[in-house]
């Protein structure tokens, strides 16, 4: 349908047009963003009415051609991506617009951001494993470029470290895809769900793809690159990186685990993912507590929150035989991914505003910021509530679903880790909040920030809370076309 194509064509067309436009690129982005948001909404309403759809590109049916898949999961991620990126575009016009003459960062930011948006939409819509690879590479390329955008030694080093992990991840994933093709002669996810059986090539392929994507999602043993990269990037870029880029590779892991390999996914691999997830939560949180720079605290928090996402696999019984609580874990993981996207984007934008206002990024400069920048502190607070998984936020709904799945499934250990993770999150998130509420230190000159710029993160943080309060609607959206392994459970 037209809306799905618009979701793909518009961001890519805008990205291409932004290169020759140069100085006028911000205006182009401001025009393109609402259109893409509209397209994403249209896709969501379309499948809400008519159910999931498979659109063969160029008319060629799989296994020959590539098919775009539109179901609840993809529509939800499309919509979240559109809202977050739309807000980032609006926010970035105040930083990267250079009306008089074209600067390097001013030129490079807009095409890269719009191309990243196109890549995200391509990942969320594609139903073909190799197509996901190419879209993932476009995403990684733009992400690495955005990390190194302000050209300092630390950020270039962080970009190189990110690149090395990303290269390793993409090769492992590509190797898995080649094995799948060699074994089944098909790359389409819907087809593979029928063909897949547990044998040597499928198991090796599943292991390689999962490890590759784990490296790209910065899951625990592969997380070293994320904090310096996400903290070094300019604020709008780090919002995109933490909120959406890591989610794209997680989205693919979900597609593989629950659509392609429900049969091959055995307990061992799921347990390893779970262990890595636990490691991420504990390790990420402890490191976040020890940080002095606000952006690094937020970045390490991403490492920790990503751990929750991967707890979904052991809890949902790796999709093999559909346990009754599988749906709870599946929905919990996805809702957590969405609410984390909103909350983390808001938090990084706030961190950017704080850094701009106090001139540096260290947390002790935040004293008394609640008085001069009340809106930003309020947005940061709301985002923190969602990250800590406290009601009424989306984070709480996700944590509740995952906890019920953990208890029903009998693995109490994961439940305890999740609760501990919530407490640790409270520790490292209340440290900055506490400084914000403290009395302002004398002689700290805080440059005032325009109110509309402070409103942007507030809208995103509000969305994270709304995902919890009005969670019935997203839950029904996610249910459309959900993999059969994740059907049973709570209902």
């Amino acid at each position: 349908m037209i809306a799905v194509t618009a979701c793909l064509v518009l961001p890519l067309a805008a990205a291409l047009a932004a290169i020759p436009l140069g100085r006028r690129a911000p205006r182009l982005a401001l025009v393109a963003a609402p259109l893409i948001l509209l397209a994403a909404l249209a896709v969501a309403t379309e499948i809400w009415r008519t159910g999931p759809a498979q659109l063969p590109v160029g008319g060629w049916l799989p296994p020959l051609g590539i098919a775009l898949v539109v179901d609840g999961l993809s529509a939800a991620f499309l919509l979240t991506g559109a809202i977050v990126t739309g807000a980032v575009v609006l926010f970035a016009t105040s930083i990267f617009s250079t009306p008089d003459r074209e600067t390097r960062a001013g030129f490079a930011f807009w095409p890269l951001l719009l191309a990243m948006w196109g890549a995200l939409n391509a990942v969320f819509l594609s139903g073909d494993l190799f197509n996901l690879y190419v879209a993932l590479e476009l995403l990684t390329l733009t992400a690495v470029a955005l990390v190194a955008l302000d050209g300092r030694r630390e950020t270039v080093a962080a970009a190189i470290r990110y690149m090395l992990f990303a290269l390793f991840g993409s090769l492992a994933y590509l190797l898995g895809v080649t094995l799948i093709y060699a074994r089944y002669g098909a790359l389409d996810i819907a087809l593979l769900r029928i063909l897949a059986e547990p044998d040597a090539p499928t198991f090796v392929a599943a292991a390689l793809m999962t490890i590759g994507l784990a490296a790209k999602t910065a899951l625990f043993p592969f997380h070293a690159w994320l904090p310096p990269a996400h903290a070094g990037a300019p604020a709008p870029a780090s919002a995109m990186l933490s909120a959406l880029v890591t989610k794209a590779s997680f989205y693919i892991v979900v597609r593989i685990w629950f659509d392609v390999l429900p049969v091959a996914g055995n307990e061992a691999l799921a347990m390893i993912l779970g262990a890595m997830g636990v490691g991420a939560i504990l390790f990420g949180s402890v490191l976040a507590i020890g940080q002095e720079r606000l952006k690094l605290v937020v970045a390490y928090s991403t490492v920790a929150q990503l751990g929750y996402l991967f707890l979904m696999f052991p809890l949902a019984g790796s999709g093999g035989e559909a346990q009754p609580w599988a749906a709870g874990a599946w929905n919990g993981g996805v809702v957590h991914a969405l609410s984390h996207a909103f909350a983390k984007a808001a938090m990084f934008l706030c961190a950017g505003l704080f850094a701009e206002a106090i001139g540096h990024d260290r947390m002790d400069g935040l004293k008394g910021v609640a008085r001069t920048m009340p809106l930003t502190v309020f947005a940061f607070g709301l985002a923190a509530i969602s990250l800590m998984g406290l009601p009424p936020s989306g984070g709480f709904t996700a944590k509740y679903l995952l906890l019920t799945a953990a208890f029903a499934g009998g693995n109490h250990f994961f439940a305890l880790v999740m609760l501990a993770g919530g407490l640790l999150a409270a520790i490292y998130l209340f440290r900055p909040l506490e400084r914000a509420f403290a009395k302002p230190a004398e002689g700290s000159d805080i440059t005032p920030i325009a109110r509309w710029r402070q409103a942007v993160p507030l809208v995103l943080a509000g969305a994270a809370i709304a995902l919890g309060v009005f969670s019935a609607v997203p839950f029904d959206l996610l249910r459309i076309g959900r993999a059969d392994a994740a059907q049973e459970g709570l209902e």
Binding site: I2, L8, L16, I19, L112, A182
Partner: protein, 313 residues
């Protein structure tokens, strides 16, 4: 053991040896040289695997262009950084890494041997759908019709690699000329070679793109030849690469993917995204390939030249 298998065995051994030399070599320039040799051996392997298009691509891009990029990067890094090999990590780490790699290779081999020897993949389906694809060469059919969406994304990836490379310039040099100043003597050997070769190069490039629809060749291979020609002419000092901020250059870079996207969008309005009617498929594919060749040539040349280093000529 048929002679063909002997040749393949030798080729495989040579390739593995070249790879080991490239990876394990002490001197960095030697490693890069071995990498280029390794690339050519792999290209021959593709010929042995009856995949001529891939052989062309591997030779032109895999070995050639990547080799040039490595050499120019090596030159620039040697000039600025202490090339001393810093601590290589303990022996234990090395052994562990070696074991890990052996494990991965072993798992791959185990999976490969477990594959069904009669597996034919998509060959039957493609040959059956080839008549509606508008082109004779099945690889071009897959690239530009059956899986055109992949190629579209890939051309955008290439273009944005250039945008990313440009974004790594110094702020002061923005808007300047890409790459370093060249020092060719105007009457020297390179200058004459730079005037003699371009006509041949253009003919070969156009032929590659045109022949691509029926037998091996295509936009990427043709684009690489064009890029090589443009670089040679620039190195010979005959012309100067255009400024980064010049509009025609940016238009040329964007034209290929933009035209491809436009074709896809128009197809979408008529029903299916990137849908090519069998009748008009050949014309559209060739038009798209021409556009892509132009953009790929410009992009590859500028990728080799690198981010803008100079503000005046």
């Amino acid at each position: 053991m048929t002679p063909a298998l002997v040749f393949d065995g030798l080729l495989a051994l040579l390739a593995v040896a070249a790879a080991m030399a490239a990876i394990g070599g002490r001197d960095l320039f030697g490693s890069v040289a071995f990498f280029i040799v390794y690339g050519l051996l792999i290209a021959i392997a593709w010929v042995r695997l009856d995949a001529i298009d891939v052989a062309l691509a591997e030779a032109a891009i895999g070995a050639g262009l990547t080799g040039i990029l490595l050499i120019s990067a090596l030159a620039r890094v040697e000039r600025t950084a202490s090339s001393g090999e810093s601590g290589e990590g303990g022996r234990l780490a090395k052994i562990a890494a070696a074991l890990l790699c052996a494990g991965v290779a072993g798992a791959l081999a185990w999976a490969a041997l477990a594959l069904d020897p009669q597996g034919a993949g998509l060959t039957p389906l493609i040959s059956e759908a080839l008549p509606q694809a508008g082109v004779g060469n099945p690889v071009t059919a897959v690239l530009l019709n059956f899986r055109a969406y992949d190629t579209l994304l890939e051309s955008i990836v290439l273009l944005f690699a250039l945008v990313a490379v440009w974004s790594l310039a110094d702020d002061g040099n923005w808007g300047g000329l890409p790459g370093l100043r060249q020092h060719a003597r105007s009457d020297g050997v390179l200058a004459t070679f730079g005037r003699l070769l371009p006509p041949f190069g253009l003919v070969v490039a156009v032929y590659l793109v045109w022949a691509g629809s029926e037998n091996p060749g295509g936009a990427f291979q043709g684009g690489t030849v064009l890029a090589a020609i443009w670089l040679l002419v620039a190195m010979a000092g005959i012309t100067e690469l255009p400024r980064v901020s010049s509009l025609p250059l940016r238009a040329a870079l964007v034209f290929g993917p933009a035209f491809f996207l436009a074709v896809g969008a128009i197809g979408a309005l008529a029903g299916t995204f990137l849908g090519l009617a069998p009748a008009a498929a050949k014309a559209i594919i060739l038009a798209v390939e021409a556009g892509l060749t132009l953009s790929i040539a410009a992009t590859l040349a500028l990728l080799v030249a690198g981010s803008p280093q100079r503000t005046q000529g």
